[in-house]
Symmetry: C2
Subunit: 236 residues, 2 copies
DNA sequence: CGATTGGTTGACCGAGATCAATGGACGTGG
DNA sequence: CCACGTCCATTGATCTCGGTCAACCAATCG
């Protein structure tokens, strides 16, 4: 029995297998999608554009149509943390606080679908399935956040990188065996609580050990077993 | 303008001031409480008792009536992380996954009120105010989790300890100026991604600097300013 | 009163941070 | 097309914060 969709993600033995539980944060399925589609407008944004700033009032919620978005928190001394990367079909900005406590930025050129929060709330009021989906989506993000706390608090740099690569592989289409990495090394570091040099060293070590092959903007997994054992994940 | 209730907590200049935004995770106010009260049964548990185990099926949700509860994740090699401490009036086990991905344990002798999940769902279906409260509670926990990721990924041991003490002070009644610390040093370490020795050293350093005074099972804040500047929090 | 549990402190070590140099990919303008 | 500048990845050398191992003490509880 899988413990949660997080665990499930990392347990997947090979590229191509469909996850038993859909990844949390993905957009709603079936009829709910249609109702939502009509409410949103698609916007294109350039690489590194700020979708909203930390401290902005929260008016809108979003779904990623294409590309990769990052959620960023910064301290005034410049220390930065990326709480989440979001890919096609995943949503962000559904938290209820009136003011954003993270910035949202485009990692690469992206298209996002924007929704007015009032429209989202109205839809939740009129459609119990959508309300249920929203609650489960938030709940899933909370579980993922708890898993990430464990990673940030207790895992080594090498474990973090291996876990990250497996997560990226799990979320990507991966038609040709090359898993894309849209974000620069610095972003990977800020996501994992590491410096970019450390992220870099861990990646090249994995390559030297023939577990992965680094490509232009991505990587290929050569030895899935080596990677999973490196990640040291709990598989209940 | 405060950015979130998390930020608000740490910005509070002295013990006794009422927060502008109620702490997230607290039990619902007013009429909603009454409806919920009837559904729950109060249970007493001994110190270190397991309320539920990691991997158990999730049947119940809880509110803390008295004492302190911890949410614990463990790796099979023994590394442990505490995702959350919960105090009187705060709730846990409202996440939707069918299987718990954290254990819940009593830090000290506690009383908790248990609710059947089906009852919680029924109440949410029949009372929109309760449904709204539940969504905001989950959302608040998600924001706190994001703040904690920043702490675990980017703050120093000394910053983490100062932040932790301010959080504890903010959440406690603190009638007599002594902030209780129900949990042992090891738990503080596991909450902050530190070893217990490191937590201990950071605490005694703060005491030597006359910022706090350590007591039997708690501490007194002697120099609030020293503590907040040590915590290095963002105050928007 | 000994046994157990939790807190404190010291000595030393190592994973990851920091500082620095190099090189490749890419874009732009002449 | 080439020269130059910018951004990013990589690698090396060194340093440091926090981890590790260990001793000791105080409080609590049979």
């Amino acid at each position: 029995m899988m413990q949660s969709s997080t665990q499930e993600s990392f347990a997947r033995p090979q590229i191509g297998g469909a996850p038993a539980i859909p990844r949390t944060g993905s957009s709603p399925a079936g009829g709910v999608t249609l109702a939502l589609q009509r409410l949103g407008t698609v916007i294109s944004m350039d690489r590194n554009a700020e979708i909203w700033a930390q401290g902005n009032r929260a008016h809108s919620s979003y779904i990623v149509v294409a590309g990769c978005v990052r959620m960023v928190k910064v301290l005034e001394d410049g220390r930065r943390h990326i709480t989440e990367f979001l890919f096609e079909g995943e949503c962000f900005g559904f938290e209820t606080p009136a003011v954003h406590d993270c910035a949202a930025e485009a990692v690469e050129d992206v298209r996002v679908q924007r929704f007015r929060r009032s429209d989202i709330d109205d839809l939740a009021d009129s459609d119990p399935r959508f309300a249920r989906w929203r609650l489960e989506m938030m709940s899933g993000k909370l579980c993922l956040a708890q898993e990430r706390m464990l990673t940030l608090g207790r895992r080594t740099a090498h474990e973090r990188i291996a876990e990250f690569l497996l997560d990226m592989a799990d979320r990507a289409d991966c038609t040709n065996g090359i898993v894309p990495l849209a974000m620069p090394r610095g972003d990977i570091g800020d996501y994992l609580g590491l410096r970019l040099e450390t992220a870099c060293r861990a990646l090249t070590l994995l390559e030297r050990q023939r577990a992965i092959r680094l490509e232009r903007n991505g990587f290929a997994i050569l030895d899935w077993h080596a990677l999973t054992s490196r990640a040291n994940m709990v598989m209940h």
